[in-house]
């Protein structure tokens, strides 16, 4: 399965400024694994030591939240994933 992860500009420093990244995987977890293979610095940012998604991040699949149990959610060919982090500044 081939999906696309769309990142906001703030992640650009970890991805050589690429914000639309093609990944392979049939679950969110597999897609993220492929993302980390391409951009290893993102793994520490997004995952806990136990390999779970950090609390401050949410994953959306085609604009719909993958919460809870994000990592096991299925991904279909052509799906678009977004990684969103909590912001609270005013």
């Amino acid at each position: 399965m081939s999906a696309e992860i769309e990142l906001s500009s703030v992640f650009g420093r970890y991805t050589d400024k690429q914000l639309n990244i093609k990944v392979e995987g049939s679950t969110v977890g597999e897609c993220l694994k492929d993302l980390f293979r391409q951009f290893p610095k993102l793994e520490k940012l997004l995952l806990t030591r136990e390999g779970k998604l950090q609390h401050a991040y949410d994953i959306y699949i085609n604009g719909e939240s993958a919460y809870p149990e994000e990592m096991t959610k299925p991904v279909k060919d052509g799906d678009k994933l977004n990684i969103v982090f909590i912001i609270y500044g005013g």
Partner: protein, 244 residues
Amino acid sequence: MLTEKELQRYDRQIMIYGFGEEGQEKLKKARVFIAGAGGLGSPAAIYLAAAGIGTIRMADHDTVELSNLNRQVLHWDENIGEEKAESAVAKLQKLNSDIRIEAIGETLTEANASQLVADSDLIVDAMDNLPTRYLLNKTAIEKGIPFFHGAVYGFEGRAMTVIPGKSACLNCLYHGIAVPKVKFPVIGVTPAVIGCIQATEVIKYITGLGELLTGRLLNYDALSMKFTEFKVNRDPNCEHCGNL
């Protein structure tokens, strides 16, 4: 009833199809609570005052610092060291002397939030930390009044409108997650956009125009100049609104 002066002052918006004198009268009767007189609160308050909101309550416990001035446009060089709520109210009253503007310099807490929001018709969430945002979200739900969320980080911003019992709330969105408060990067143009989106939503809600930003999180990425929307469903187990 609108006065002759008000008819002149708001002529251009009264002209908008569906707005009319009726819409203007609704704005005049409205009482808006703005939590935070900072980066988001400044543009939101300026445009709501200019639009003729009858009563604006500006709440902020901070004093103006030099490092605020790149974004908190209600405060100027001459206001450094002054209370933000007072500084904001002084400008807003000069902008529109026909409306009522109140300064609340107290810290919002679990104990006083409901009392400070008082009989306001809605809450604009222009805070700078998650705990107070959750507190205001909860207060809005308890009072059954709408909550207009906005947040910024660097060149990125977000907004969502909450109608208690009808659309997802802030707690549904972030599942009550707490993240430590740290100094965040931001440039003034980002909260300018988001604060104006919040003010737009307030005006739409009061006048009954258009479609609100409910059940949708709007994400603004200024560097790629893109708006993205995410669907946000109500959480039946939400600690704030699950029982509604």
